[in-house]
């Protein structure tokens, strides 16, 4: 059996373990793992869909740019959650362990482990691409913050009434925003 055939055959099992382990990174993950409803369970459903697509792209040996949407689907969420940068993107590297585990568990496929170098290199490349997306998301998050400050709502707590502006002016023109 070729590696590609084995991965296809074990796809369901690999994805199941991989998705579960990723969702286990949330303190209370039962609902995230159980509900298939895309609207009721945005974290679980998007991560499930994103990781599934990434695995399918790996099987197809897709071009690097094809991964962007699927990676974004997962990373955009984890980039604003309570994770360190490494925790946010580590699920992609986890796939290496999951694939090895699943192949090793079956006598028919255990010998294929020695052929994994290329796939594992691809997985690492995907993880690095995920990190690029992570930094883009973080940059975007800060841009959103800046835009909000510029839009005027900051004035809620900076009280730009005339009397306060006059007070500011007394301090000197450089202090006026």
């Amino acid at each position: 059996m070729k590696l590609s055939e084995a991965l296809q055959e074990k796809k369901k099992q690999i994805l199941s373990i991989w998705i579960d382990r990723t969702l286990n990174s949330y303190t209370s993950s039962d609902f995230f793992k159980r509900s298939q409803d895309h609207i009721a369970n945005p974290v679980g459903a998007n991560i499930r869909a994103g990781l599934t697509t990434v695995f399918e792209l790996l099987l197809q040996e897709a071009a690097p740019e094809d991964y962007t949407t699927a990676l974004d689907q997962v990373v955009r969420i984890r980039a604003v959650q309570d994770f360190t940068p490494s925790q946010a993107v580590v699920p992609f590297l986890e796939l290496k362990w999951v694939v090895r585990q699943v192949l090793a568990d079956d006598k028919k496929t255990s010998s294929l482990i020695q052929d994994l170098a290329k796939l594992e290199c691809e997985i690492e490349r995907v993880a690095l691409a995920a990190f690029d997306i992570y930094t883009t998301c973080r940059e975007q998050l800060h841009q959103v913050r800046v835009q909000e400050l510029k839009s005027g709502s900051y004035i809620l707590t900076d009280t730009p009434c005339v009397s306060s502006l006059l007070r500011e002016r007394k301090k000197g023109p450089d202090n006026i925003n």
Partner: protein, 543 residues
């Protein structure tokens, strides 16, 4: 319906070696401390703000000081524990609902997976049942026989400084949107539990600036922004100039005019910040279109009431200006603009807090003759109810094609939807002012609508990450209709929504922007005597 046992809420164990270093629970929830770090808490209230509020008649804001959630020592008063327990006792006596909510929860878990904060974080303490449990455990310990005898076995625990910190963390990770309450078989209003937690925290000087500064501004000038009368009037005048440039129509609203038939009150953000400005231009055009005899007030210049997010005393005090101004001006009734929580205060508390408004008349549309009997007690009509009635009677000259640049979806703002049942009117209006719009999926609209994630005074920028998490369920459903139908506009009737959903969209679905419903109405209006420019982007067109 999810079946969740509280003691098993957070048991998910990783098997095998793993690179994943997430937050697997290894302890009972009571033993997991709240950990503060930059980005997960809103800044504490400034000393001068707290001192100012404490000096106001009928308000109590003690323990003004410099402090930070990052510090171990929160500089609580020496007898903080006594203050909290006495405060809880007082509230249990005063609010029958609180006593019932503390007693009647059977922990069925129906609410557990309905909270946008839980759905965005996976943190079990953001399950509404657990958030209430943070208070309920103290209630059991000090106010129930079972708790006194069996302690932890009965779900009770001692009040500690750690509990104060936990309350601060999680009562400010709740937007009081009440989605959870829709699913609760006992009708527990978890928002009121959060309200009580926040009230208790204020008793020991724990509050956030983004709420208390607008409260203080409102108390001083009537509005969150702290705008004085001339500034408020100037801002509206600027909008009138913009309207004239765009449409050639000169709109001349009046301010503080005694004898006007109607007083109009809206969030001050509408006359100050984008994209609310366009909604305010919408009101101005609409009222001009029908020749309404109305006035703005530079005193009742705020529909929003951050008192709702602070304490019942503050809510009552800030809300009082609406009736006071209506009485002073001698109007017949009030029309309220596109605000969210204003309608919760108004619909559920105003009558008993500030009423009866027996000096006002039951609202009757001067254009159609329709009696708004649903507002017989509060005497205050929602702008969408008023507009839908105008459309129904054919009183608006509308050209839908003027909105062809927008493909909206409808966001039911939490409070108008769940607290006053405003579900059909906005949809009826949309049907008549745009050629095409699309609903989001059924389980996230109407009563089941998802919150913007930044309500109840959480729309401050220092917690942007947290807001993006809690807003994920809403953003995710908007993305769904954007991908499926090409939706490019998220329409709503709430000022906080207009500000916060804009940020939310900018991160999650940047192709979608946010618009007030009255903006879309005004876009479509054919005004008498208009010399309209080519407005390819409606009222937002840059000339």
């Amino acid at each position: 319906m999810a079946i969740v046992k509280v003691d098993k809420l957070a048991k998910s164990v990783a098997q095998g070696p793993s690179l994943m270093t997430g937050s697997y629970p290894t302890m009972d929830w009571m033993d997991v401390p709240a950990v503060f770090k930059p980005g997960n808490f809103a800044y504490p209230a400034k000393v001068d703000i707290v001192n100012y509020l404490n000096k106001q008649q009928g308000l109590h804001f003690p323990n003004a000081r410099e402090w930070s959630p990052l510090d171990d020592d929160w500089k609580l008063p020496e007898n903080w524990k006594e203050i909290i327990i006495d405060g809880l006792r007082e509230r249990l006596d005063k609010f029958r609902s609180l006593k019932i909510f503390m007693d009647c929860c059977v922990r069925c878990g129906a609410c557990a997976d309905k909270c946008h904060f839980f759905l965005g974080t996976g943190d079990p303490k953001n399950m509404p049942v657990m958030r209430a449990e943070l208070l309920r455990s103290i209630y059991r310990n000090d106010f129930t026989l079972a708790g006194k005898i069996f302690g932890k076995m009965a779900g009770a625990r001692e009040m500690t400084v750690g509990v104060i910190k936990e309350w601060f963390m999680y009562s400010y990770q709740c937007t009081e949107c009440r989605r959870c309450s829709v699913y609760c078989p006992y009708g527990i209003d978890t928002a009121e539990v959060t309200m009580m937690l926040r009230e208790l925290l204020h008793l020991v000087g724990v509050g956030i600036n983004w709420i208390l500064e607008p409260v203080s501004n409102s108390n001083r000038t009537g509005n969150h922004m702290g705008l004085q009368p001339h500034t408020f009037k100037d801002n509206v005048s600027f909008l009138c100039d913009d309207i004239e440039n765009l449409t050639g129509v000169k709109v001349e609203p009046t301010f503080n005019r005694k004898g006007a038939e109607i007083l109009f009150i809206t969030p001050s953000a509408d006359v100050f910040a984008e994209p609310g400005l366009y909604t305010a231009m919408g009101y101005l055009l609409l009222f001009h279109h029908i020749g309404l005899d109305y006035t703005w007030s530079t005193y009742a210049s705020e529909g929003g009431n951050f008192g709702l997010f602070t304490s019942n005393e503050v809510m009552k005090k800030l809300n009082a200006k609406m009736y006071a101004e209506a009485k002073r001006l001698g109007v017949k009734y009030i029309i309220g603009g596109e605000c969210g929580h204003m309608w919760r205060v108004l619909h559920q508390y105003m009558d008993t807090m500030n009423g009866p408004a027996d000096f006002l008349e039951v609202p009757k549309s001067p254009i159609t003759g329709t009696m708004f009997d649903n507002t017989a007690s509060t005497k205050m009509v929602h702008i969408s109810e008023f507009t839908a009635d105008l459309i129904k009677h054919g009183k608006l000259n509308i050209d839908k094609s003027r909105n062809d640049h927008v493909i909206p979806t409808w966001h039911d703002s939490c409070n108008p939807a769940r607290a006053m049942g405003l579900l059909e009117e906005p949809r009826y209006i949309l049907d008549h002012v745009v050629n095409r719009w699309h609903e989001m999926p059924e389980n996230c609209i109407r009563e089941q609508t998802y919150c913007c994630g930044s309500g109840t005074g959480l729309n401050t920028d220092e917690i942007m990450e947290l807001r993006m998490r809690s807003g994920l369920p809403r953003a995710n459903s908007v993305k769904y209709v954007h991908d499926k139908h090409g939706v490019n506009t998220l329409a709503c009737v709430c000022a906080i929504d207009r500000a916060t959903l804009t940020s939310l969209m900018n991160y999650w679905v940047p192709e979608v922007r946010v618009a007030g419903l009255s903006e879309l109405v005004a876009n479509s209006l054919v005004m008498e005597g208009e010399q309209r420019q080519e407005l390819t982007d409606g009222l937002r067109t840059l000339l």
